[in-house]
Symmetry: C2
Subunit: 341 residues, 2 copies
DNA sequence: ACAAAATTTTTACGCGCGTAAAGAAATATG
DNA sequence: CATATTTCTTTACGCGCGTAAAAATTTTGT
């Protein structure tokens, strides 16, 4: 029950019996006051439902409790999922996360960073657009604001990088495919949005050679972030021209694989491991949707939890002043066996 | 080129040759100053790259330029897409949108609204969780903050409702299915998260009766927002028990349909309109993913653009003081014919 | 119980900007 | 050109809170 409407910290301090500077200190860090006063304040907060004005709070503080979370494309469930994960971790750690998406547009990415600047964030968790990102703007931002880069690494910007181990991803699933059937061809975009794609291709080539197989890479045309459509169109063309030298196709990512599956369906080609199936298709990412494709997609999944945990912890440590040299943490993926391969 | 670092509006006013109150007025509304002074200010803004401190700006203003966009589940590409659309419209209209997701949790929804309150938003675009939303908290919020409800209507809360015309959706696609084959069964969740589901079931029943067919509703168990999995499990059960009385299934929404398609695949049932197909499946929503299912999903699509346009315009009008009685706008969907039905 | 250490209170100023009021200057009207 | 109108400048105060410094109080250690 709120007894009386508290308008500001002055009134709150009067009614709670604690001086305003101490109340201010409490809201900045509840652990910085004596337990007995903390209890009094919290009782009063409960009773009067008071919250300090965030604008006034942030005005004079050099460092706010704001944390920006920036992803390249929020309509991609993969990014939505990892953003959700990160958001929760920020809240749990006492920060105020704000979500941003560059919507696949490098100009918007720069705008987002500009907006973020004006929020004086304590730190930022940034998944850059990748290839299309404006390097100079990104670098300047990382210099000014403690920024942890995740998902896709851009040079040695920011305080650290946390992402998945793309070499391990592709080696592992390539190995699996070779052991269980014909060695895979590699299906990718010619000009991928994201540098992870290059790592994956390289890992594919290396793995294939180490197994003594001849690699074959099919690179399809297409710009932008409509991966499914690019995979579908590219798949149609590659299938029609019989460009796949084996019956197994490893896609650079799940969204491309989803498009390829659609192309296969549209050409009446049966995908899977069954005796009546013509080809096997595998993806990479553990996309939230991959369970529901037809057939369900065999893939290698990001460890969403581990990535977000490492990323958040590294950022919070940096905010707390634990300076460490730039570091790249790459987390292994887990093979998800389904019917497609 | 920035010549000198401007620290505050005082310095900016001095260097731009315009008094501080006028500069302040300009930043609040660029059209409120004479064109000649506007030019001077904008030249200086360009030259010195000055932006007012948003915290100081918002502290004393009763009404900020902040707009909250709240969706029930950002990992659902449907909501991500409409949120993206709304975000852009806010920016274009000179507002500062901030994106929130309740992540399917009613408690989080209340927390989001609480957080939103502290941002003193000029207005909020809210897609409520639906059935699970806490009515009292929602109503109180709508009383305090100009709120436009979209997607899913909750009584007559807020300044207006804008969403899709669920009756038209279901009538239209039911009509299509009846005209092109056997009349459809209706596949839905027994306890749907969202009141639109009830409208759709009702529209199905009405349409079937008006066509002189016997309706059949299959309601599957399942709580929460994992619609695909609910559709898959429910689909397996219904298929095994041969609960579908005709060869055509209209799903309450696309995500459920996607799960059902997976179940069909897993049972070796061929879906589509071809001669070799056993059943037809249709969805509703025009989910971004529906193009890439196997077979591609016939559905009736939200008019994303029209919904977001109406919603944004109605909110901005209300913010500008155009008071109108509560109104519900329901926008028709467009049939998207694909191979599944 | 007493000194030392930790915490809180008191007092006071400043952050960057919104905004009100009164007068000066520029523009519009006839 | 004189007057009415709009816009701008000057001056001044306040928003709600951060924060610094010195004094007062409470807690801790022995």
């Amino acid at each position: 029950m709120s007894a009386k409407l508290i308008r500001n910290m002055e009134e709150f301090s009067a009614i709670s019996g604690i001086s305003r500077p101490t109340v201010s200190k409490y809201f900045n860090d509840p652990d910085s006051v004596r337990p007995s006063t903390r209890e009094k304040i919290e009782a009063a907060v409960e009773k009067y439902d008071y919250r300090p004005n965030i604008f006034a709070m942030n005005q004079n503080r050099k460092l706010t409790k704001n944390v920006g979370i920036v992803v390249p494309l929020l309509t991609d469930p993969y990014f939505a999922e990892i953003a959700r994960n990160l958001e929760q971790r920020c809240i749990d750690a006492g920060y105020r996360p704000t979500l941003f998406s560059a919507h696949g547009d490098p100009n918007l990415e720069v705008e987002v960073l500009d907006n973020l600047r004006s929020m004086k964030p304590a730190g930022v968790l940034l998944a850059p657009l990748g290839r299309a990102s404006r390097r100079d703007a990104l670098e300047k931002f990382c210099d000014d604001v403690p920024t942890l880069i995740f998902d896709s690494s851009v040079e040695e910007f920011g305080i650290a990088f946390v992402g998945s181990d793309n070499f391990q991803f592709t080696s592992h699933i390539t190995d699996y495919l070779c052991r269980t059937g014909e060695p895979p061809c590699f299906f990718e975009m010619k000009t991928p949005a994201n540098p992870n794609a290059h790592r994956r291709r390289q890992a594919y080539l290396t793995a294939m050679e180490s197994f003594g197989h001849t690699p074959q890479v099919i690179s399809v045309e297409g710009e932008g972030w409509s991966f499914e459509e690019i995979g579908r169109l590219g798949g149609h063309e590659a299938l029609s021209k019989k460009q796949f030298s084996t019956n197994t196709i490893l896609c650079s990512n799940d969204r491309l694989a989803i498009g390829l599956l659609t192309a296969c369906y549209e050409q009446g080609i049966k995908v899977g491991r069954g005796p009546d199936c013509t080809i096997r298709v595998a993806g990479q990412d553990g996309h939230p949707h991959s369970r529901y494709t037809c057939p369900p997609l065999t893939t290698i999944s990001h460890d969403y939890n581990a990535v977000s945990k490492h990323a958040a912890q590294a950022l919070f440590a940096a905010i707390d002043g634990h300076v460490e040299p730039w570091k790249s943490t790459r987390i292994e993926g887990k093979l998800v066996l389904r019917d497609s391969a």
